[in-house]
């Protein structure tokens, strides 16, 4: 199977500070890839490079065989959507209007909203359980609800590749599960390729086909959950001692932190 989005040997730095070195990852249709790594490992930078905001210093990014710079903006946005930045709260924008902005790549710059656009927006709102909040402004809902709205906007964009930068950070356990269920549903029904940057070590093992563990700007490990989530990998990347076993209820890898900090290095 050919990857729909691939990065090969990507390196990047801000000025003299190197942030990524030799990062290679492939995203496949119908697969959820989880991007793990401690704070500052370069996850967000990698997502900015994959979405074409930043150009890699070394290596190459290919979306369906073409680099992001070779796309017209709206053409690329129809293929790839991103949920990362928090929704704006300084201006009174309703949740529905915000999610509706995801339809921009399907509309003319001067065009209006088609019935199909409205339908996709309502579908994304319903999937994210935001239909009841659709007429509230973004300032009137909670941080977790805003985060779900950001994901809903990416869903409304209707792209086959979704990059989601820590989409569950502010969510309670129920909405975390709901988020992964939504991604799974999109994967199974629409065949999307998703990259989810996350700190949910155990939940992501339940839902992710593949895990990429980023540490210090390089890929420390990648593969199936049981290959990546080992005590030594987790300790090397995060500096915590963990026990890894199988969840007896689901059979997925379970990562449990152990008390006490291991000596540094």
């Amino acid at each position: 199977m050919k990857p729909i989005l691939s990065a090969a040997g990507v390196g990047f730095g801000y000025g003299d500070r190197e942030v990524l070195r030799g990062v290679s990852i492939d995203l496949f249709p119908g697969e959820v890839t989880i991007l793990l790594g401690p704070n500052g490992a370069g996850k967000s930078t990698l997502i900015r490079i994959l979405s074409g905001i930043l150009a890699p210093r070394d290596g190459a990014v290919l979306l369906e065989g073409r680099p992001p710079s070779a796309y017209r903006r709206r053409e690329m946005a129809r293929l790839l959507s991103v949920a990362g930045q928090d929704p704006p709260v300084d201006f009174p924008m309703t949740v529905r209007a915000y999610v509706g902005l995801g339809r921009f790549p399907h509309q003319g710059f001067f065009g209006g909203t088609s019935p199909e656009d409205a339908e996709e927006v309502e579908r994304a709102l319903a999937m994210s359980e935001l239909a009841g909040l659709a007429d509230r402004t973004l300032a009137e809902i909670s941080a977790g609800e805003r985060q779900r709205a950001a994901v809903a906007r990416a869903i409304a964009q209707g792209a086959r590749v979704m990059l989601l930068d820590e989409p569950t950070a502010f969510l309670d356990i129920r909405h975390r599960v709901a988020f992964y269920e939504i991604v799974t549903q999109l994967k199974e029904t629409c065949g999307i390729a998703a990259l989810v940057a996350s700190h949910d070590l155990s939940l992501c093992a339940e839902y992710g086909e593949r895990i990429v563990l980023l540490s210090g700007g390089t890929v420390a490990a990648q593969g199936r959950p049981e290959e990546v989530l080992t005590p030594s990998n987790v300790r090397a990347a995060y500096g915590v001692a963990v026990a890894c076993d199988r969840n007896p209820a689901t059979g997925a890898i379970r990562v449990t932190p152990l008390r006490g900090m291991p000596p540094a290095g």
Partner: protein, 333 residues
């Protein structure tokens, strides 16, 4: 209050009626009483008494100028607020006002005895130059960030303000009062010719901004998210910047510095129609026009000799009204 009038189609007829009402009130206010009958006679038969001439050559042009200036300032404010993602931005925030003032004062104080024909042109050139300067100073390879634009705008604005003080200090004494009066902002220069000078700029600027509406909506998401949603961010930002500066600069050139309208009318308009620019821009134009025409009418009624600058009234009358509006919709910023 969560609906905030969003989706209610009655907003635009009401706002248009408000603007027409303000224009009519402005035309009817003044030391010379003009009966509606005399006005209609003069309109259809060409000739007319003194009252009719006052109406058509003084009051109506002045009212129209007020509507154009108020509408343009409010539209420009909407655009700058979206561009900078900052609801506290106004049309003067990036040094446009200072540049225009320096341009106009150079001519008015030092070059020509009767400079009125070229004065707007020079003010406009000054505004355009300072806007361009701020833009280039703030530009980096990675693009133009709102923070850098605001910072450079403040620095350039402070510098230009010092230049203005220096110029006024060094000017021939007889010319100082006129210059100061212009700086405070007024519509007394509302001859038909000035309406004609301003109209093309305002028409062009507001139409271009309206065409950019969808892009302005997306700019509110922030540069990265707007880019990822499919917007050519730098292109839209450059077009918005140039257009909003053109609007503000041409207005300053004709009417001096009138504060408050471009800052606060966009907030009022958002309360009525929300943040979508397809509705927000026309609503802000109508509201800004009506607001400034009413403020000018009030200024003329309060001081028939015409010494009270309209800029003072916009703040005096506008601040309490909009505070009320904003407090009533307290959950909105």
């Amino acid at each position: 209050m969560t609906g905030g009038g969003k989706g209610s189609g009655a907003v635009f007829p009401v706002l248009a009626a408000a603007l027409l009402g303000a224009l009519a009130l402005s035309a009817a206010t003044g030391p010379v009483t003009v009966s509606p009958r005399a006005a209609i006679d003069a309109l259809f038969r060409g000739a007319g008494d003194t009252g009719a001439r006052v109406l058509f050559s003084l009051r109506l042009p002045r009212a129209l100028l007020g509507a154009l200036v108020g509408g343009a300032l409010a539209s420009s404010g909407v655009a700058f607020q979206a561009l900078l993602r900052n609801p506290l931005a106004d049309p003067y925030i990036l040094g446009v006002s200072g540049g225009a003032a320096v341009g106009a004062l150079t001519v008015a104080l030092f070059l020509s005895a009767d400079a009125s024909p070229v004065l707007p042109l020079c003010a406009f050139a000054g505004a355009a130059l300072s806007a361009l300067g701020v833009f280039l100073l703030a530009r980096r390879r990675s693009g133009v960030s709102p923070e850098r634009l605001i910072l450079m705008g403040v620095v350039v604005g402070a510098f230009l303000n010092a230049v203005i003080m220096l110029m006024v200090t060094l000017a021939p004494p007889g010319k100082i009062p006129g210059a100061l009066y212009w700086l405070m902002g007024d519509l007394g220069l509302g001859t038909p010719r000035r309406v004609a000078v301003l109209f093309p700029y305002v028409a062009l600027g507001t139409v271009v901004l309206y065409l950019l509406s969808r892009g302005l909506d997306l700019l509110l998401l922030g540069d990265a998210a707007a880019f990822q949603a499919g917007l050519s961010v730098e292109r839209v930002k450059t077009a918005t910047y140039l257009t909003a500066s053109l609007l503000a600069g041409s207005v300053v050139a004709v009417s001096g510095l009138i504060g408050f309208v471009g800052l606060i009318v966009p907030h009022g308009a958002r309360v009525l129609v929300g943040s979508g620019h397809r509705r927000l821009l026309p609503a802000a134009f109508l509201m800004g026009g009506a607001f400034l025409v009413l403020s000018d009418t009030l200024a003329r009624a309060a001081s028939p000799t015409g010494e009270l600058p309209v800029g003072a009234v916009t703040a005096l009358a506008g601040a309490p009204f909009f505070l009320h509006l904003l407090r009533r919709n307290g959950r909105r910023p």
